[in-house]
């Protein structure tokens, strides 16, 4: 494992005017503010909309979208079978509860561990490129589904049934904490040398290696971290649902939603996937459950619109000028930030 390093700044260019102290302060504000805002908004959730099952599921989707953010946003690998890690987390935690009678927190940890082990086994897939990788993860997740759905020790026929280990309120609080921890992880990935290495690999793996980046190790770590997030999400889902068959945990629409939520909000940012999930999953709650066919249509259109007009996601509209789409810059006509002096 690489030495964990402090969140040093590798992005701020020298000589941009403001004093180093002001820079450092702004940087820390930029990191702490999202944590506080996201924690506060989700914390206030139940008083805005008193439906804990919805809110907990929202938090679970945020975790999945952050997992997609790390593996797709930072490494460029699109994991269609990402739901497999969610399912691994669900069954890892559930089986630990059923067979070993572990407590709720241990179940969450074991759910994450199960997904990480699955990711480690699948890590050779990172040698594949583009569509092959996407399809291979899909196949792997479906293979896992077939095992789980057909074995008796996984209760494939009878269905899983778990004791209630947390009250709905407690589970929601734990989910919000998990979302905040995931946000810290993504902020670390965004701002650290590790994150810079991931972006470098995504840009040009040969050149990144010449800059001293261990390409295989760095990619694998990102892959394991994203699997761990999906594993935690799965464990939380198991604890919330407590009775289920294998169909739901491995439902491919979960992968699709997580990917769309992340892209819609903006990958490679910390809050993008949070914003994307909150907006789209609320929309789903509002119109999708009663009229699922409209919702699928909206999603289809959304993907097209995103790819064409908003490749950086919703949060790119408020990001640096360079990240904003040209049509938006024309529309808003903000005065251009002064270029660096010649």
């Amino acid at each position: 494992m690489p030495e964990l390093e402090s969140l040093e700044d590798v992005t701020t260019p020298p000589g941009t005017g403001a004093s180093p102290a002001r820079h450092a302060a702004a940087r820390w504000f930029g990191r702490i503010a999202p944590l506080v805002v996201v924690g506060a908004v989700l914390g206030a959730g139940p008083s805005l909309y008193n439906n804990l099952a919805f809110l907990t599921t929202l938090a679970i989707y945020i975790l999945l979208a952050q997992g997609v953010n790390i593996v797709y946003g930072f490494t460029g690998y699109l994991p269609f079978g990402f739901v497999g890690f969610f399912g691994a987390g669900i069954y890892g935690s559930s089986l630990a509860i059923v067979y070993w009678h572990v407590g709720g927190y241990a179940a969450i940890a074991l759910g994450a561990l199960t997904s990480v082990v699955a990711a480690l086994i699948l890590s050779p897939l990172l040698r594949l490129s583009g569509a092959y990788f996407a399809l291979a993860t899909l196949a792997a997740s479906q293979a896992l589904y077939f095992i789980v759905a057909n074995e008796s020790w996984t209760f494939g026929e009878s269905g899983m049934s778990l004791p209630l280990l947390f009250s709905p309120t407690a589970l929601y609080v734990i989910s919000v904490v998990a979302v905040v921890v995931a946000l810290i992880v993504v902020l670390y990935v965004r701002d650290s040398h590790f994150g810079l290495s991931l972006r470098a690999i995504r840009s040009d793996a040969v050149s990144a290696a010449m800059a001293g980046v261990n390409v295989v190790r760095t990619r694998t770590i990102a892959w394991l971290v994203s699997a761990a997030l999906a594993g935690v999400a799965g464990a939380l889902w198991a604890l919330m649902t407590s009775a289920f068959y294998a169909e739901t945990p491995f439902d491919l629409t979960i992968s699709v939603y997580a990917i769309v939520f992340a892209l819609f909000g903006g990958v490679r940012t910390a809050v993008g996937p949070v914003v994307g999930t909150v907006v789209l999953y609320s929309l789903y709650q509002y119109i999708g459950i009663s009229n699922p066919q409209y919702f699928e249509l909206i999603y289809g259109l959304l993907i097209v619109v995103l790819v064409l007009f908003l490749p950086g996601g919703l949060t790119s509209l408020v990001g640096g000028r360079g990240d904003r789409p040209a049509w938006w810059n024309r529309l808003v006509r903000r005065r251009a930030a002064p270029e660096v002096a010649p």
């Binding site: 260019p13 810079l196 010449m210 001293g212």
Partner: protein
């Protein structure tokens, strides 16, 4: 005294095509060696093999006596070996400053150049820019800065001069001379003889993947075999 870099009987094939065979050469500490040869003679392939982009099909490479044959690029970078790319490959998603900040200096390399690499190559004023906003000449300089940030003991430079304006060429030749004065070993691939003359003392001439001459640049220009392969390809 063994050389800093020893290449022994290296070969590299792509399928049935033999791109390199029987390549042996030494680079001494602080030496500046030219590597010349007609198009397709294997110069870039040799750099790719020595920098871990390709594994050689045969032969050994030693750095300070240590066998480094077939090591991955990031390991070689850490051991003090680095290169530029013929078609520069700066990391396009990153800013200029990030391209350099990415690099962790080699632990084994002794060559702490004692300067800021962006200042040195003359890109400090565009540090905040994205790579896409750079001219092609600036991208070449950034490729060089990225390689230097790793504090290599031996640096392979692949046609850094090609496509540069005369003033840019002077600038780059000056940079390479400055590096040589600081004790960095250089292996310079270049077609421009006037440029090469300013930065190297010895040359190796490659033809069809095999060295056919080693000596000074002056001797090379007068050597009948060298004249033949160059005139042969131009005829």
């Amino acid at each position: 005294m063994s050389a800093l870099l020893e290449v022994r009987d290296v070969a590299k094939s792509f399928g049935a095509f033999v791109a390199l065979s029987g390549v042996s050469l030494d680079v001494a500490e602080g030496q500046s060696l030219g590597l010349v040869g007609p198009n397709g003679s294997g110069k870039t392939t040799l750099i790719n093999v020595l920098s871990g982009v390709y594994k050689p099909t045969h032969g050994t490479v030693r750095l300070r006596g240590r066998d480094v044959t077939g090591l991955a690029s990031h390991r070689l970078c850490g051991l003090g070996m680095n290169r530029t790319f013929q078609v520069p490959r700066p990391l396009a998603g990153l800013t200029v400053a990030e391209n350099v900040a990415l690099v962790r200096p080699s632990r084994h390399g002794t060559a702490d150049l004692g300067f800021d690499v962006l200042e040195f190559v003359g890109l400090a004023r565009v540090a905040a820019r994205r790579v896409a906003a750079l001219t092609s000449g600036e991208q070449k300089l950034l490729d060089l800065a990225r390689a230097l940030a790793a504090r290599p003991d031996v640096l392979f430079v692949d046609e850094l001069g090609a496509g540069l304006s005369p003033s840019e060429l002077d600038h780059v030749a000056g940079l390479l001379r400055a590096l040589r004065e600081r004790g960095l070993a250089l292996v310079v691939v270049e077609h421009l003889m006037g440029f090469l003359e300013q930065v190297v003392d010895q040359v190796v001439v490659l033809n069809a993947g095999t060295p056919i001459f080693a000596g000074t640049l002056r001797q090379a220009i007068a050597d009948p075999r060298v004249i033949e392969i160059f005139l042969g390809t131009h005829a």
